[in-house]
């Protein structure tokens, strides 16, 4: 099920605000489409990101995929557990498989993202 406590992009990232930061990962649909994830090129802490801009790469056995920042801000923290265990994204895309956190966000940017229901309907119409 798609968690209802966060927002979603058309490029299959999720974003959840938590104490003024935004936690970002990829959706269950995205991890399933990528298959076995073998490598995550994490962004550097302190890097400014722009909404919709490429900020990291997730590689699976079959392909490399860019991850786009769902909101503008600065990279506050990255999930270093993914360096040794990138498969966490496959096993727990919405929880321990988070990828990075963004600070200095403008929460009004969240308004234009999809909620869980809209994302599910987006998937239905685009598959």
């Amino acid at each position: 099920m798609t968690p209802e406590d966060r927002k979603y992009t058309e490029s299959h990232e999720w974003v959840k605000t938590e104490g003024g930061h935004a936690v970002v990962g990829i959706t269950d649909h995205a991890q399933d489409a990528l298959g076995d994830i073998t490598f995550v090129e994490l962004p550097e802490t302190g890097t400014p990101v722009t909404r919709g801009g490429e900020c990291c790469v997730v590689e699976s056995v079959k392909a490399a995929s860019d991850i786009y920042a769902p909101l503008s801000g600065t990279i506050a923290e990255v999930n270093t557990a993914l360096t040794d265990a990138p498969e966490l994204i496959n096993s727990s895309p919405y929880d321990t498989g988070w990828i990075f956190k963004i600070k200095d966000i403008d929460e009004s940017e969240l308004d234009s993202l999809m909620d869980a229901q809209a994302y599910e309907s987006f998937l239905e119409h685009n598959e």
Binding site: G35, D36, F39, E41, V57, E59, V61, K62, A64
Partner: protein, 370 residues
């Protein structure tokens, strides 16, 4: 209309859907690319046994008193030296020596052969063979009436034998034989594209689903074409559309064993000797986990352009990133340090010996696996 609607389906299509396979278009067919995940399917093939739908591959039957002479002219490998019951890897080249396709030729009888070719090239190949054969040579496309299932892995012999009227106990690598499954005759060859001991089974359409299900019910892992790719890459086997194309000649692939030098064939005048060939296909091991991909540039340590990556993936068996690519010959020695120039970054790598994976069971004695 979408491409998917135009794509052909194999006789096993509904079987794949019932197994919840992920389907995609490959060589003009909607094929299963994944079932339980590439790594699981890959490891099942290396350690146990898996099954692949390869019905999409083209199959061309060639017969007649001039069939052998015609094929000697069309193919790079030696044809007449094949015994009945033997098969061989070879190439079909254009007049300039560029590769039209790679294939396996089976000698069914003295004057009867089957070519197994890539799915996307089957019509081109068929027309090419027809154009260059004698008038009295019969050429038939049997792709649509012949199913092909690959059973691959060190545990494949006992699984297969349980289904057959009579066990196969002694079949050398690149040889084939016939057995019956439920009163239907199968052609079974000791070949495959995985490097593991295994069989390619040719059968009529009406028995294919039953044979597939019987294998799966015996505990065989259904495997998709994506893991067929990681398996072949670990063995360094070239793939059409990646390593095989008409801009390269067979010598550059390193498969000189598939080129008979004691005959002339279409393109032979333009196929250089191994000693003078300027580029060579090499194995590449990256220093990190991040992989190179088809089309990435290859640079020397002093940043000069020396070649192009043709395939790249994470290797599930070796747990590192591997690739194949054409490089200038002076950089082809194993151990040579090189740089992969990908879209956004450069990665350190080195030229590796092939195969990458050295433990494969494919060439071992069948009787040791019964």
């Amino acid at each position: 209309m979408s491409v998917k609607q135009l794509s052909k389906k194999t006789v096993l299509y509904s079987t794949h859907l019932s197994l919840n396979a992920r389907m995609d278009t490959v060589g003009g067919f909607i094929m299963p690319i994944q079932y339980s995940g590439i790594i699981k399917e890959h490891n099942a093939t290396r350690q146990s046994v898996s099954i692949f739908d390869t019905c999409h591959l083209g199959k061309i039957r060639i017969s007649g008193e001039n069939a052998c002479t015609d094929l000697e002219h069309i193919l790079t490998c030696s044809v007449d030296s094949l015994a009945v019951g033997q098969c061989r890897y070879g190439f079909m080249c254009n007049e300039q020596g560029g590769m039209i396709d790679d294939l396996i030729i089976y000698r069914i009888a003295e004057n009867k052969f089957i070519l197994v070719v890539n799915s996307s090239e089957q019509h081109t190949d068929f027309e090419w063979v027809r154009k260059h054969s004698s008038e009295n040579t019969a050429i038939t496309d049997i792709s649509d009436i012949t199913a092909k299932i690959d059973l691959q892995g060190p545990k494949s012999p006992p699984v297969l034998n349980k289904l057959l009227d009579e066990s196969i106990t002694d079949l050398p690598y690149f040889h084939f034989t016939y057995r019956y499954y439920r009163n239907t005759k199968l052609l079974i060859s000791r070949t495959g594209f995985t490097g593991e001991l295994g069989f390619e089974i040719f059968c009529p359409h009406d028995i294919a689903r039953s044979l597939w299900k019987a294998c799966v019910n015996s505990g065989v892992t259904p495997a998709g074409l994506e893991c067929r790719n990681t398996l072949r890459l670990e063995m360094g086997y070239p793939l059409y559309g990646h390593e095989i194309d008409d801009t390269h000649n067979p010598v550059e692939t390193g498969y000189s064993c598939a080129i008979a030098r004691d005959k002339t064939f279409i393109g032979s005048d333009h196929i250089p000797d191994e000693i003078v060939v300027p580029t060579k296909l090499v194995g590449i091991t990256l220093s990190g986990i991040q992989t190179a991909r088809h089309g990435d540039g290859i640079l020397s340590e002093d940043k000069k352009n020396i070649g192009t990556v043709t395939s790249g993936s994470y290797s599930p068996s070796l747990e590192k990133a591997i690739a194949l690519g054409y490089v200038r010959k002076e950089f082809s020695r194993p151990g040579t340090e090189i740089i992969i120039s990908a879209h956004k970054k450069k990665m350190k790598a080195s030229v590796s010996e092939l195969p990458f994976y050295k433990e494969a069971s494919g060439r071992k004695k069948l009787s040791d696996f019964l």
